[in-house]
């Protein structure tokens, strides 16, 4: 019964063509139905039924995403068939579906060996193609000798494929270099264009991984560069030289001439011309004539109507831009024109180039042009533009920005671009400029105000980050604000319910700062001691800012109270806590204000609370170096991996003035959190009922500063510089911070009326530590093997030419090489000699690789 079934299956098997026709009908269950058939057919013993089943399966796997890993063993079966047609199907299936993890991989080693040694060149080429695709470490090791034999094959079809497979073999089994490398190099001198094209391709790949090892082959490559007429070969050779010349400057000089010659030819193919240009731009840019010629040629690309050439022209310019900006500047018009191209890829390249041209003189102009483009562009490109402006302007602590007022208004403008999605970056820069550039704070507050009072912006979730920065700045630098009342009103407007809670908390906290500032100014104006001074200064105009009357302050307080009372029941704890804090504070000072200025006693509770709060907010925030943590020297004996039992000891010192109970039953965790709370001086704790007197907070702050002065940036220092004095003296600072602040001494410019404000800059914070990449690649086995193989190439060369001796290191190759020797009887004679030479070469391995003199 079973046999008759199988006979039916064989007789009425669908061919691949039937399958494809069926697929074209588009029946939904057809694929699974066919798979069932295939599963049945592939198990049959008839080789042709089996192979057709495998062929169909390969088709389904390639185009319909069907898994065929389960058929791995059947593929091995089909490969072993003696018929070429079956073999082909089998090898195709293997190449398509085998990975390093396929368990039956080991089963094909012998089959591959058999086919590699076959007399039928097409079978050999199938096996080589398969090895190139699936070759593993084991396969590469076991088949090295076969590949070596084929490298010397007289049939071009086989030889070029053997060359192609060498890449995989070297990659998986570096010791194969000892066997095959010499023959590979010989092929560089082949006159057959097929062979040459294959071998140059292989060297191109090898060189790109480890250029230094191939420097000794420069003369051979050079010969091909001068003699070859094949564009494919020349392109690959140019790629090789681009790599070699970047590590050997003398080579660059030598190569420049033939490269120029290729560029000057009238009928040179565009692909070759482009490769020449790219090679010059990337590696030969120090050769003046070559560079000039390449720049002249790239112009033709830029003005061409073909979008491909235009794109490549721009792309090539971006390679040369960092070293020779003039090449880009010469083509400024073309670059700007490309900004309005209809291809987004071309526009993107143009944008990168524009940003490369930005400097402190043209940043305003270029940014204005770009913002216009941003308004017109689709969302994706619009954000690319905004992103690149942000990156270019903030580079190196805003190096190219002279006029920060302008830049801040630009940031404000960005927020209003409809598609803007770069909220996070803009937020970061607004805060960063606030902390770094003192002179820009007035404008920052102005820009922030404009953003805050616009209720329309609150609905756009991409702007929430920007708004949070604006809220923070308005609160932190409220003293620059013309109307604190307006700010507080904006911060508490009903639409703020659209904000996420974390940002809303910042809004409330900023409103708190505004309140503290306003009430503080109001109180200090009342104080009898300072009232005289205040009155004097009233006439001189400072009261315009600080002029809080009884009416204005009470309406401010009640407005804030009204705005917040609905929030005290919010679910979000952060918002709720901050609301409660502000409300609690208002409750404390409210009666004081209600009493009108009758009370002359400045020692009331409210006054003390006010003084304390002002104290808390008066400490200026500075930028923090990203590497601040790393600068802390690891204290001796600090065990970071041990548990924290010792913490109690450390904490006691801090806690002594506070917790004198000294009872050992006190929980460590309580102490720690308490001390941390003290040290960080969060407003929440202090604003609540148990209020410590102000001097303590100041002393704690001083204490903290003393301990952690490392992280403090002196704010006085930038004041010094504002006077125009470049001298950097820290004498005023009791606790000199460890971070050195480097300040650009401003160079007065004729064009710009006001000098560049001081930007606080942390010296080393910005440049990431780059690990010395050294010559780690030299330690790789493949590089080592190749350097060994090339050592003394010069002296070995003549003997290589007259007898194709096998260069075998018996100890390393082991079995396979012994087999090898049996086959290559004519090589026997010379192998002894060659292994002796090899030993010599290995002895000199330690010497650095040198480029032979004949080229240089």
């Amino acid at each position: 019964m079973a046999s008759s079934n199988s006979l039916m299956d064989s007789l009425f098997q669908r061919s691949l063509e039937d399958l494809i026709k069926g697929l074209r009908l588009g029946e939904s269950t057809f694929v699974s139905k066919s798979l069932d058939e295939i599963r049945r057919e592939i198990k049959l013993t008839d080789p042709s039924t089996k192979s057709v089943a495998l062929q169909k399966l390969s088709y389904l796997a390639a185009l319909h995403g069907v898994d065929m890993a389960w058929a791995a063993f059947h593929a091995v079966e089909v490969v072993s068939s003696s018929r070429f047609a079956h073999k082909r199907i089998g090898y195709h299936a293997i190449a398509q579906s085998f990975s390093d993890q396929t368990p039956v991989l080991l089963l094909i080693t012998n089959q591959l060996r058999k086919d590699l040694s076959s007399s039928n060149e097409h079978e050999v080429s199938l096996a080589l193609e398969c090895l190139a695709r699936i070759g593993t470490d084991d396969l590469a090791r076991d088949l090295t000798s076969e590949v070596f034999t084929l490298l010397g094959s007289s049939k071009a079809l086989v030889r070029k494929k053997a060359i192609g497979v060498v890449l995989r073999v070297f990659d998986k089994y570096p010791d194969a270099v000892k066997v095959c490398f010499k023959r590979l190099v010989e092929n560089l001198e082949s006159s057959d264009p097929q062979i040459l094209s294959a071998v140059v391709g292989v060297f191109c790949e090898l060189t790109s991984k480890d250029p230094r090892s191939y420097l000794p082959l420069a003369p051979e490559f050079y010969k091909i560069l001068v003699d070859s007429r094949n564009n494919w070969v020349l392109i690959k050779i140019l790629k090789i030289f681009a790599k070699l010349a970047s590590i050997e400057p003398r080579l660059a000089k030598k190569v420049a001439d033939p490269v120029c010659e290729h560029m000057r030819k009238n009928n040179v193919g565009k692909s070759l011309l482009f490769e020449c240009i790219r090679t010059v731009f990337s590696s030969l840019s120090d050769q003046e004539t070559a560079l000039k010629l390449a720049v002249a040629k790239i112009k033709e690309f830029l003005v061409d109507d073909d979008p491909n050439l235009k794109y490549l022209g721009l792309h090539a310019l971006s390679i040369v831009a960092p070293k020779h900006l003039w090449a880009v500047l010469e083509n400024k018009e073309a670059v700007v024109k490309a900004m309005s191209d209809e291809d987004p890829n071309v526009k993107l390249e143009a944008l990168h180039l524009l940003m490369a041209m930005v400097n402190e003189d043209n940043v305003t102009e270029i940014s204005r042009i770009l913002m216009n483009y941003a308004l017109k562009s689709d969302p994706l490109f619009c954000n690319e533009i905004i992103g690149s402006i942000l990156v270019a302007c903030s580079r190196n602590s805003y190096e190219i920005i002279v006029d920060f007022d302008w830049y801040l208004s630009l940031l404000g403008e960005m927020a209003r671009v409809p598609h803007c999605q770069r909220g996070k970056e803009i937020e970061h820069q607004l805060v960063d400029i606030g902390t770094r550039v003192k002179d820009a704070r007035l404008e920052l507050v102005r820009v922030s105000r404009a953003l805050l009072i616009d209720p329309a912006l609150l609905g756009n979730q991409f702007l929430h980050h920007i708004l949070s920065a604006a809220a923070w700045a308005s609160g932190e630098y409220v003293e620059f604000s013309k109307s604190p009342y307006e700010i507080a009103e904006a911060l508490l407007q009903p639409c703020t319910c659209l904000l996420p809670p974390s940002i809303r908390a910042i809004y409330i906290h900023s409103a708190f700062k505004v309140l503290v500032f306003s009430v503080g100014a109001y109180f200090s104006a009342q104080e009898p001691t300072s009232s005289l001074l205040a009155q004097e200064s009233t006439s001189s105009g400072s009261s315009v800012v600080n002029g809080f009357t009884y009416d204005s302050i009470s309406s401010l307080v009640s407005m804030i109270e009204l705005g917040l009372c609905s929030l005290s029941g919010t679910i979000d704890v952060e918002v709720q806590e901050r609301t409660k804090n502000v409300l609690g504070f208002i409750g404390m000072i409210k009666h004081e204000i209600a009493e009108k200025p009758t009370s002359q006693d400045s020692e009331t509770e409210a006054h003390r609370a006010m003084a304390f709060m002002e104290d808390v907010f008066s400490e200026e925030l500075g930028p923090v170096s990203s590497t601040a943590q790393e600068k802390v020297p690891l204290p001796k004996g600090l065990e970071l991996t041990e548990n924290l039992e010792d913490l109690q000891e450390i904490c006691r010192e801090v806690l002594e003035p506070v917790a004198e109970s000294n009872s050992s039953s006190f929980h460590t965790s309580d102490k720690v959190s308490f001390s941390v709370a003290k040290l960080t001086i969060r407003d929440q704790e202090e604003a609540s009922s148990s209020l410590p007197p102000p001097p303590e907070s100041a002393s704690l702050l001083a204490e903290h500063r003393k301990r952690h002065g490392l992280y403090y940036l002196s704010s006085q220092k930038s004041d010094n510089h504002n006077d125009g004095d470049g001298n950097d003296n820290n004498t005023s600072n009791e606790y000199p911070p460890a971070n050195e602040i480097s300040v650009d001494s401003f160079k007065p410019k004729k064009k710009i009326s006001k000098p560049r404000p001081v930007v606080v800059k942390l010296d080393e914070g910005d440049d990431p530590k780059t690990k010395p990449d050294a010559s780690s690649s030299n330690d790789e086995p493949l590089s080592r093997a190749i350097q060994t193989a090339l050592m003394g190439k010069g002296k070995g060369k003549e003997s290589v030419k007259d007898n194709h001796d096998i260069n075998v290191d018996t100890e390393n190759i082991g079995q396979s090489s012994r087999r090898e020797k049996k086959k290559k009887k004519n090589g026997e004679r010379s192998s002894k000699r060659s292994s002796r030479r090899r030993r010599d070469q290995e002895a000199s391995v330690t010497k650095p690789v040198e480029v032979p003199d004949l080229l240089l």
Binding site: I89, S197, E205, E275
Partner: protein
């Protein structure tokens, strides 16, 4: 490695040929093809033939209803790859006589065979049409 993969996709986005020179799982292949096809098919004739995708550069060209897409390393010569695509199409034309989508569908193994002659391990090893086609012609005779 030079060439990482070669795809032929019709206007509807169906893959007609897929040849990979590095190991990717089925899911990875399907995802990659989907993303690339979406990107390339959305572009028009006035736009350039190069698209950057993940760490590949895709060089593509449309012939009638078929898109030929080649994924290459970043430093590969784009124009040379366009020439390679053209050579592939010319070779197929020579064999099938004005090649169309159906030819590739029904003779997928021949298309693969041509590619295997042209590309090895991601390197282009053969650029002569006659050399590429000679093994296939031999095979046809044997049948």
């Amino acid at each position: 490695m030079g060439i990482r993969f070669i795809l032929m996709v019709n206007k509807q986005g169906q893959t007609r040929l897929a040849q990979y020179y590095e190991w990717l799982t089925l899911e990875e292949r399907r995802a990659l093809e989907g993303e690339i096809v979406r990107k390339c098919l959305a572009r028009n004739d006035q736009q350039c033939s190069f698209v950057e995708h993940r760490n590949y550069k895709i060089v593509y060209r449309r012939y009638a209803s078929l898109f030929f897409m080649v994924g290459v390393d970043d430093d590969e010569n784009e124009l040379a790859i366009l020439e390679f695509i053209h050579l592939l199409v010319e070779t197929m034309d020579k064999h099938f006589g004005n090649v169309c989508e159906l030819d590739i569908m029904f003779h997928l193994e021949k298309a693969h065979f041509m590619l295997e002659e042209m590309v090895m391990n991601g390197c282009i090893v053969e650029t002569s049409k006659a050399n590429i086609l000679s093994p296939i012609q031999l095979m046809d005779k044997a049948h």
